[in-house]
Every structure is written in C-alpha cells, then in structure tokens.
Subunit: 248 residues, 2 copies
DNA sequence: TCCTAAATAGTTGTCCTACAACTTCAGGAG
DNA sequence: CTCCTGAAGTTGTAGGACAACTATTTAGGA
C-alpha cells in the first residue's frame, strides 16, 4: 500500500514520532477499522503507511500491546485484542476523567464546589516534595457523565511557578488544559486503589446512599520526575467500569 | 565496562532475549543495585554488559518503564523511579498473588475451602468461550500473608484438555504451577475492579466485620488469545496495597 | 484417499551502523 | 553574578540485513 498517513505525523510538534503513531493507530483501532481478533497490517506495511522507520512502528505497537488493545505474535502478526466486546478506557492510561467519559460516549460535566488557596497539609507537602507551609490550590469537584454524578474529586496543586491565568484556568476545572498552558502536563502517575465506605465523602443529590466508593489516591509526575499534583478521586461504585490489562 | 551478564542470557531457552534481560534488570533494580532516583548505565553500556544489541536493551527498558520501575528521559538517561520508598509489585503485572505476597516479604499461605468439578455457569461459560454445560473445576480459597487472611478467591478452569495430574495440582492450590505443567501459562489478563460491601463473601475467622472488599474480576488468556481461567478475588480492604502506574 | 513430513512464504525478533534530537554542564562574555 | 554558547553524553529514529518463528502449501508414502 502507499503512504497514507504521513501528513498526520509531524516531526516538529515536540511529541515523539512513536507517540504520534500510537495515538493515530489507537484511534483507528477504537473506530473498528479492523474487526476484533483480526490481523492488522504488518510492521513493514505500517512503516510505509506512516512514512517512519520500522523501529518507530514497533515502539508504538509495543505500547498499544501493553494497553491491551493489540496482541503481537512472533512469526504470525499483530492482532486486535478480542476481549469479548467493547474495549473500554483502561485505568493504566493516564488521561483526564472527563476525556475518558467523552471517549466512552457520554457527555462529560463538572461542578466545582470549593476552590481555594491554602497551606499544604502534611501528606500533601510530602507527596509534592514541598516545604511545609507552602501555598497550594485545592479543588473539590463533582464529575458527571450525562448529568449523573460518577465521582467526587479532591485535588491539590502547588501554586509556586504557576501564573495567575493558569491558576484561574485550573480553578475553573480544566486541569489538563491549565497545566498544558503552563507546560506542565503530567506524563506519569502513581495511583493507590482502595475500597471505601464513608458518609463523609461527597455532597449533594449525587451522593450515593450506601457511601460505597472506589478511591483512587494519585500523585502526578512530570517528565523529569517532579510531582506536579496530588489528589483523591472517589468513584461512585457501579457508575464507572474500571479495567486493567495485566501482563507478564 | 566489560561483558558481565552474557552468561545469564540464553539464546535457546524459548524466552525472548529482551524478556530475559528485563527479568535480570528487574532483579538488579529490586535488589537496590542503584539508589532510587539515580541514573543507571546507559543503553550502550547495558548492551555491552549483556552482550546483546541496543534494540534489545531498549525493548526491555521500555517494558520496565511501563511497570513503573524506571524512568527513561530523552537526552538524559535512565533513572530508577523514585516514588518515595520501595517500589512494589504493581497491579498491572500479572503474577500469582502468593508470589506477590512472597516478594513483599511475607509468608504466603493458602487454605482451600471448596474444590469441585461441576458444570459451568452462564457467565463462566461466556468468559471462557465454552459450550453450555461444560465441565469446569471450581475452587474457593482463602489466601494468607503471615497467617492473616488477605483475600478470598473464587476461581474456575475448564477441565477439557487438562490431565488428571494437572487437575490435582490445581486443586491443591498451585494454580500457576499446575497450568505451567500443562503448558498453559496465562500471559495476559483482563481485570475489572469494584468496591464491594457484602456479608456473603468470605468465611471463617478472617472474614472482615465490615464486609468491605476490593473485588478483582479477572479472565486470564493464553498467548494465542484463548481464555484459560476466570475468577473473582476479594481483597480485604486495608490488608493489601494496590498500586497502578499510569502513563500516557 | 488419508496422513505425515518437508518446503515455502510471510511475520516478528534481533543485530549493526549512522545520524537526529534532546539534556546537561562547563566555560566565556557581558 | 547572570546569561549565552558550545561540547559532550544520552535517548530517539533511520535503514538494511538476517535469525527465529508461524502458518500454509506441497510432495511423498502408507
């Protein structure tokens, strides 16, 4: 086949070629360009389609394999993973919750309940490697899908080094957009998972009666390893399906 | 530096070179050969140490990065991930629970409560791609760390194609060992995570009073994509720390 | 005819060399 | 002291070659 997607790949965007190829391939897979379980074009063919080297394709494919989207078999080919239906957003892909909700086909919304600048707490300071007493921005938000509350989120950012405009954008709820403007997009996060039953969490009409949540306790990191944000997100049990692809 | 670990790598073991290098590097990291946050030898140096090509080293390093053990920075080097302490087995690494417990430094144990061969249920048959009415081996076990119950596990295997010896080994509790003997080691699993509060789950003295569990609903797959096992594991909240490394 | 084994084509895994892009640090100019 | 520049070191990408593996086809024998 000829070169199909060379124009989709930019060598001056700051994003690595393999990351761009991965994103594009990911979209093609999620749009069902190939049936589940079927074979996708080989590495040589893809390299020619995107106008990049085979190494670059391999890097992208390896990454998609780890995400559970495809299945690379030595000597045979690359297959779309068939897990009996729709491939949902996996928990190990780092992206904003609202983006995930949109990808699942729902209308994502957000209601900010609290937005304040205060001193960092003890664990917050430790997680963010801040000296005690540093100023942080603290947000409390409810996240909705099709107007239904699916999670309550408590997030904290160090204000040092952030412009007033960025802080305002963060306060309005666009976390990833705000951090992106400040050129501080997290590329990695460490998340602890807990089952929580509590009446203290949540507020308003969307608060579940049984108080049952899946808690995600996260710290976000920049490319250079520095922590940039921390927070607890409480997902209302049953409103959100979490999937992890586990590999050796 | 000279060639240090060439003898650790076998070209006839069936396991790919990059997988062998990854395992070996993983051990070196977990044994704290390098401090957390410090730089490990570069790709050229590692390639020379193991007597393999740089591509092979890169594949292994990429994999370790996904597991959250290291941190690859373009133009700078490879660093041991520093997440404020010991890096433990993450949830997205597929390995037996008992193995994980051992790696964490505890004494792993197991008490089988039920072990029977019966007909597959509806969802079991669907998950395992079995015709209705197929025979399956069903196990109910309590998993302990230092004699304390940390999880209750309900697992199911199709009997067809398994030898009597293998079934006996499975019944005794050594899941991965039993499947390994039958040459049916799962290499991939799809897990759904839920927070559960129930009095129906668990038994005996280790059953938590609040009935709060983190449920892992899994289906295990072979390399060729065929499902080989399914099961629900209920981890007693607070007894086990789950960590996920999320990346873009 | 049926089954088995060998040849064959196609695909991923590894190797090699070279250069591009990026990070870091040292040294000099202001 | 601060800022800029350049050099050295490291990972990212390129391209070509062969090895190892898989799946299919073909040839041969019972």
């Amino acid at each position: 086949m000829s070169i199909l997607f060379k124009k989709e790949i930019s060598r001056t965007s700051g994003e690595s070629l393999s990351d761009q190829v991965r994103s594009h391939l990911r979209t093609r897979i999620l749009k069902h360009e190939w049936d589940a379980g079927s074979k996708i074009p080989g590495e040589f063919e893809l390299a020619s389609q995107y106008g990049v080297a085979r190494v670059t394709i391999r890097t992208a494919l390896r990454s998609l394999e780890r995400q559970g989207l495809i299945d690379i078999r030595h000597g045979s080919g690359v297959y779309v993973a068939d897990f009996g239906g729709v491939v949902r957003a996996g928990l190990q892909e780092l992206k904003s919750i609202t983006e995930t909700i949109k990808e699942l086909g729902f209308k994502a919304g957000m209601v900010t309940r609290t937005s304040e600048i205060r001193q960092a707490g003890k664990t917050e300071a430790a997680d963010l490697l801040l000296p005690q007493g540093s100023q942080v921005l603290h947000l409390e938000r409810a996240i909705t899908a099709d107007r239904e509350v699916v999670a309550f989120s408590y997030d904290t950012f160090p204000v040092d080094g952030l412009s007033a405009a960025t802080i305002k954008k963060l306060s309005s709820g666009s976390i990833f957009a705000g951090l992106g403007e400040a050129n501080k997009v997290p590329v990695r996060a460490r998340a602890e998972i807990h089952a929580i039953s509590s009446k203290e969490i949540g507020w308003g009409a969307g608060k579940p009666r049984n108080g049952l949540y899946l808690q995600l306790r996260q710290v976000h990191y920049l490319r250079d390893g520095k922590p940039i944000a921390t927070g607890d997100t409480y997902f209302v049990e049953g409103k959100f399906q979490f999937i992890i692809h586990r590999t050796i």
